[in-house]
């Protein structure tokens, strides 16, 4: 929620007669008002005035942090590392002494205790004769948690808002043609989002190249995909873990759509950490793999065996989360793959239950979902770690 409170201040010394012609409109363009900030932050300030600007000063929590005399007004501020509310204030001064100001407040990271922590939300894909367009009712489902029947307390389909991370590999092996196909595919996914849905777009290689906050603003999300240049290696594990953690802070039907043209090479985290996180969380992972099946390889970081093990763990994380791997041979198939995932998410049944056998001991709970009738194929999260 934005807590921006723009001010148009006139100093006491201003004569009323001059006010009409000497107003200074100031706007803090970044950081974003509703996002937490830490460390070095570039504060960008937009100023409109009818006379020349002498300087722009930036204050953080009342303390002067720096000034700029030339547009574009950009002042680097050390915001510190504490998780706290911060008030940025930008003041522009004209040469005649007229001032204008804007105030922007950033929030700390909201770490909320989930009141419904024990509610397990399971998203179930059911297909019959290749079709997911079925009309099943709550009574058609039975949930077993470690073999114990559970009471379904929430049931729905295409009702919960979707919260997605589009985690897109733009490492150096991606050619221009492929990057364009990723852009189109991701855009198709974003275009299919409903107003209540939100997404975060993260372009990664061995580092984060671009990142948006979670937002429903499709234009802002899509603009992140423009003019992308590939660079660096591939660190799937690290950024998949980061995406799963980011989704922990959100609600709704949570999903990571990972696109990558190769396996992990440069991560510091083993895929076992991603698997652990996938088991402990509630987000699904879909992995669009360009280039077909995994092939054994060696690098400075891992030998053939270790890389194969990494792939197996990652594949397991995807499967156990209730998502799936979509192998594609050509970049041209990407739009279809993204659309396919979105359609599948829309057609999933959402079942919620409070496990009657929860102990919080971190042990694995196997989930079985049974659907009345013959011939249906059922896919869902395979289980969870009971934390």
């Amino acid at each position: 929620m934005s807590r921006r409170a723009p001010l148009l201040a006139l100093t006491l010394g201003l004569l009323l007669a001059a006010a009409a012609s000497a107003q200074v409109a100031v706007s803090i363009l970044s950081p974003a008002a509703d996002q937490p900030v830490f460390g070095a932050v570039d504060v960008k300030v937009g100023v409109q005035a009818r006379e020349p600007i002498d300087r722009v000063e930036v204050f953080l929590n009342g303390k002067l942090m720096g000034s700029s005399k030339m547009p574009p007004y950009r002042i680097r501020v050390d915001a510190g590392e504490d998780n706290m509310r911060r008030e940025f204030r930008a003041v522009a001064y004209t040469r005649s002494g007229v001032t204008g100001a804007d105030v922007l407040v950033t929030n700390p990271v909201q770490i909320m205790d989930e009141l419904d922590l024990k509610l397990r939300a399971i998203f179930v894909s059911v297909t019959s004769d290749g079709s997911r367009n079925l009309s099943l009712a709550q009574e058609d489902f039975q949930v077993l948690d470690n073999g114990a029947p559970q009471e379904i307390v929430t049931f729905g389909r295409d009702e919960l808002p979707l919260t997605a991370v589009l985690l897109l590999d733009t490492s150096e092996s991606m050619r221009e043609k492929e990057i364009e196909a990723v852009r189109q595919g991701a855009k198709a996914f974003l275009d299919g989002m409903k107003p209540a849905d939100e997404a975060m777009v993260a372009l990664f290689s061995d580092r984060l190249l671009r990142l948006t906050p979670f937002t429903s603003d499709k234009t802002a999300l899509a603009s992140t995909l423009s003019g992308v240049k590939s660079a660096g290696g591939t660190a799937v594990n690290d950024f998949l873990y980061l995406s799963l953690k980011a989704l922990e802070m959100r609600q709704g039907q949570r999903v990571v759509v990972l696109f990558s043209d190769g396996s992990d090479v440069h991560s510091v985290l083993p895929a076992a950490d991603v698997l652990w996180k996938a088991r402990a969380g509630q987000a699904m992972i879909y992995w669009i793999q360009l280039g077909g099946k995994h092939q054994s390889f060696t690098s400075s970081w891992r030998d053939y065996t270790a890389n194969d093990r990494e792939y197996d763990d990652l594949e397991k994380a995807v499967r156990e989360s209730g998502g799936r791997i979509l192998p594609i041979e050509r970049a041209g198939e990407l739009t279809f793959a993204f659309n396919n995932i979105l359609q599948e998410l829309r057609q999933q049944y959402a079942l919620g239950y409070y496990p009657n056998n929860a102990k919080g001991d971190g042990k694995w709970h196997k989930i079985d979902i049974r659907v009345k009738g013959f011939g249906e194929k059922v896919r869902h999260r395979e289980g969870y770690a009971d934390y």
Binding site: D42, I111, Y241, L242, D303, Y304
Partner: protein, 398 residues
């Protein structure tokens, strides 16, 4: 996607044979040496067309002119002209055209080398520079010409060492081969790079860059024992080499020699003079602790690391994962939120990426050594080009 690599073992170098062939071929071609005449390369452009059938006499004439430019300090123009000449004469896939070029260039080198053997150094460096630029340009469809100019640089370096026999010549040749190996590695040609490094090490057993290059190729190809062998040689020559120590630790870890690996990593993190591998040493120490199910120790290591490298996104992610597993999810979440909010995590190449790629800095010393040695011999080359000494290289060696 990671580059596919193949398992292989290094072959015996064949270059010594090539050097012998050089001497013979040069003498034959020299008989066709023309007199000097005006060149078309007045303005830095030779005006040659790809695949043009240029007679040997003209090739020699142009090549001589290029050498003259090089000796006069035309460091931009001469390598570009050499590229133009070689890519014009050599038709891709037609080895006959390469042979024509080789003979013509040998003839000129034979003639100028007769005056003073030291001219081989700047000529070798000229070919090296041309090769570097061809790689930079990604010279598609010019593999044969590229291979030719690279072979010229290598063979001239070896010939110089063979003919001179001095320790100084061995150092120069070794550095040139090292630099060529680095360029090959940058273009993912591991086998020829390994051969270059091997030859460089044979010429100078304490050539750290070549030893490290060789060890890295073994490491990339999962030949851990060989990697360890060469990394130990790196540390014999340069005990404080941080990259060598880190790579040795990683390879020892692969061999389950955890105690020695840990000792090396501890030493790296204790150093007050951090290098690019220092954050990696912290990361791997923490991983060792995590693998041994000692999360408190992993956390301690990572917190120490973040005090030194507070903007390192990778260390932050790793600490978040350790805390998460310990059940301290709130702090883990706050750490991840910090990365998401921090643009600084999106800028630089990660050290983990650098570890698995070729850092041009690794060969900077070899290149500056070469440049210096080439520059000091340019007057000798200039003088040789103006003289018409009619003495074969083999006779100089007597």
């Amino acid at each position: 996607m990671p580059a596919r690599t193949e398992r292989y073992h290094l072959r015996e170098p064949l270059t010594w044979l090539a050097a012998a062939v050089w001497l013979w071929a040069g003498q034959v071609a020299w008989a066709q040496t023309p007199g000097s005449s005006a060149s078309a390369a007045e303005n830095g452009s030779l005006g040659l067309k790809a695949g043009e059938d240029i007679p040997s006499e003209r090739i020699q004439e142009i090549y001589r002119r290029i050498l003259k430019d090089w000796s006069a300090g035309e460091t931009e123009r001469a390598p570009n002209e050499l590229i133009e000449l070689e890519t014009s004469v050599v038709v891709e896939g037609d080895l006959g055209t390469r042979k024509t070029l080789l003979k013509a260039e040998q003839a000129v080198i034979h003639q100028v080398g007769a005056a003073d053997l030291e001219v081989l150094v700047p000529i070798a460096v000229l070919h090296h520079e041309a090769y570097r630029r061809m790689l930079d340009r990604g010279a598609r469809g010019q593999a044969t010409a590229m291979s030719h100019t690279r072979s010229m640089a290598r063979d001239l370096a070896i010939l110089y060492r063979e003919q001179s026999g001095s320790e100084g010549a061995a150092l120069v040749s070794s550095r040139l081969l090292t630099s060529l190996g680095g360029l090959l590695l940058q273009s993912a040609q591991q086998l020829p790079a390994a051969e270059m490094f091997q030859q460089a090490v044979e010429l100078d057993g304490r050539n750290v860059a070549a030893l490290l290059g060789l060890a890295t190729i073994y490491e990339k190809n999962a030949q851990v024992e060989s990697a360890v062998k060469y990394l130990r040689r790196v540390l014999e020559a340069d005990p404080e080499n941080a990259e060598g120590r880190f790579r040795l630790a990683m390879n020892l870890k692969r061999q389950d020699q955890m105690a020695e690996a840990r000792k090396l990593l501890d030493g790296l993190t204790a150093s007050t003079d951090p290098s690019w591998v220092t954050p990696l040493a912290y990361q791997e120490l923490a991983r060792l602790a995590s693998d041994q199910e000692k999360p408190d120790e992993a956390e301690k290591v990572l917190r120490q690391a973040l005090e030194r490298f507070p903007d390192d996104a990778r260390l932050t992610i790793q600490l978040a994962a350790v805390l998460d597993r310990k059940g301290e999810g709130r702090e883990a979440t706050a750490l991840i939120a910090r990365i998401l909010a921090s643009p600084s995590s999106r800028e630089a190449s990660s050290a983990r990426y650098l570890y698995n790629t070729v850092r041009p800095e690794a060969f900077a010393e070899a290149r500056s050594f070469l440049a210096e040695n080439s520059r000091s011999r340019l007057p000798v080359l200039a003088q040789a080009l103006t003289s018409q000494a009619d003495v074969a290289i083999t006779e100089v060696g007597r």
